[in-house]
């Protein structure tokens, strides 16, 4: 996402979900920018293509707590 698109993206996400802020409140664009920047590191992990999404601990096996 381009830097100049962040405010528009944030505003449209909030509007589409029915969240409205008073006009005097600034949109947290700087925090969104920082979070998205931080999440780039996720792309450095080679995720195995066949990995399904459900969590390991929802399956039977050693991940299942004993109680």
């Amino acid at each position: 996402m381009r830097e100049e698109d962040l405010p528009c993206h944030l505003r449209s996400c909030l509007e589409s979900l029915g969240v409205s802020l008073p006009p005097e409140v600034d949109l947290p664009t700087a925090l969104l920018r920082a979070v998205l920047e931080r999440l780039r590191v996720l792309d450095t992990v080679p995720v195995e293509a066949e990995e399904p999404l459900p969590l390991l601990w929802t399956e039977a096996g050693p991940w299942t707590p004993s109680v």
Binding site: L32, L53, L55, P65
Partner: protein
């Protein structure tokens, strides 16, 4: 009798032998609580008469459970019938819980006496316990500093003798961080081991309930009640660490913490080695694990609070509101990627604990308690966001759902820091035994002067 000098285990033994009465113990705790409260604000609500009435009722029943007569406080996010249930939110300040959470019920059945409602960061969404609705809780080692959060009131109460144990919740480190910064023990068990029914969620796939206490044995005793398994963890506490493989992360890890914290950490690992543990150098993917935890936390928390945001976003404090709004704008692709990374890293962690190590050791936090209002912290020449720093070593284990313990391991510039010990899934007993061995070798930990 000074409750600050009494562990839960010692009080329990004296109560069961009839050398101490529940009402006397609760009275001593209340004297501490009333004197500490105006300085440190450990509680959002403290009703001494209600606690005394509970103590009388428990005393009348006679020694009826494993924690009979023990004063315990709950984070005000865990429902306690008839008591306030604010979750640290101003808009909920008039609410009372109409029933106990499951963990509350189990503790009540075990005979505990509930004392007050422990302070927390608003909706548990933050690690400094600075709360715009109720004011901050303060660190007992320096009241100008944060006690950590979000279970800050729980840690302050235990550190100052206002309760002999507390329950907190931990979604990114919220039990372990305040435990470390206040000089007490905190434990987050394997995901799903302790029931969360009746506990207000933050991010359901990362949320854990866990105990704080003054010693490893104390948290083990509470955990046994929470899982309904007497003796499961205490029976093996003294099994020692001979031959235990302790994984110590290498590489970039050493650039992520303050020098004083790393010195205390190295001393702690050497102490474990002297008890017979074997150090194993390992790699751990801190940055992607922490980032995946952040993405999942932010998206899930925003989903939990969507109705509240629609109704009145201004009812949230500014820091929590900002994070909730940003969570609504994280692209779905990033969230799904975080879930895939979680799966991949969980499998790697499973391999690590199956083949390479028995426990992983890290500092609990990279820095000691920050000052209240300290947005950034200078670390190794770089200005970094304090909030992200504090969760750096803890939130990967919420992502992976692994049991993780924080034990005080020393002081840095007069402030306590913690050793974190992490085990494989379901290996609570191994982690607690390692923590107990370390604690014994370390010797008594100082208490704050309050």
């Amino acid at each position: 009798m000074d409750p600050l000098r009494l562990t839960l285990a010692a009080a329990r033994a004296r109560l069961q032998r009839g050398e101490l009465r529940p009402l006397d113990l609760v009275e001593a705790v209340l004297v501490r609580a009333e004197s500490v409260q105006h300085k440190l604000h450990a509680f959002l609500w403290l009703d001494p008469d209600r606690a005394r009435a509970e103590a009388r009722k428990v005393a009348h029943q006679g020694p009826s459970g494993p924690l009979w007569g023990i004063p315990v406080t709950l984070k005000d996010l865990i429902a306690e019938e008839g008591a306030p249930f604010t979750c640290g939110s101003g808009r909920r300040s008039a609410l009372r819980a109409d029933r106990d959470a499951e963990v509350t019920r189990r503790l009540r059945e075990a005979g505990v006496v509930f004392v007050g409602r422990a302070h927390l960061h608003e909706f548990a969404y933050g690690v400094t316990n600075e709360n715009p609705h109720f004011g901050p809780a303060r660190n007992p080692w320096d009241p100008e500093r944060s006690p950590g959060g979000s279970s800050g009131g729980s840690a302050v109460a235990v550190a100052t003798g206002c309760a002999l144990a507390s329950l907190g919740t931990d979604t990114g480190g919220s039990v372990r961080i305040p435990a470390a910064l206040c000089g007490v023990v905190g434990f987050k068990p394997t995901y799903g081991l302790v029931p969360r029914k009746g506990v207000f969620p933050l991010a359901p796939s990362l949320d854990h309930v866990g105990p704080l206490g003054r010693t490893v044995e104390d948290v083990a005793l509470v955990l046994e009640v929470l899982v309904g398994a007497p003796g499961r963890y205490t029976a093996g506490l003294s099994s020692g660490v001979g031959g235990l493989r302790v994984g110590v992360p290498g590489g970039a890890f050493w650039q992520l913490a303050a020098e004083g914290v790393l010195e205390r950490f190295e001393e702690a690992v050497r102490l474990l080695e002297r008890q017979g543990a074997r150090r194993v150098d390992v790699d751990f993917p801190w940055e992607p694990a922490s980032a995946a935890a952040t993405a999942i936390l932010m998206v899930e928390a925003s989903w939990v609070h969507l109705e509240g945001l629609r109704e009145d976003p201004m009812a949230f404090g500014p820091d929590v509101r900002e994070r909730l709004l940003v969570g609504l704008a994280i692209p779905a692709e990033r969230y799904v990627r975080a879930l895939s990374v979680r799966r991949t890293l969980a499998r790697r962690a499973w391999d690590l604990f199956r083949d390479g190590v028995d426990v992983l050791a890290t500092p609990t936090t990279p820095i000691p308690a920050p000052r209240l209002g300290q947005i950034t912290t200078r670390l190794r020449g770089q200005e970094r966001e304090t909030r992200a720093l504090l969760t750096r070593f803890t939130n990967p284990f919420n992502l992976l759902g692994l049991p993780a313990l924080s034990v005080p391991c020393g002081l840095v510039e007069g402030l306590p820091v913690g050793l974190q010990l992490v085990g494989g899934p379901g290996h609570e007993a191994t982690v607690l035994a390692a923590g107990w061995a370390f604690e014994r070798a370390r010797g008594p930990f100082p208490t704050p002067r309050v």
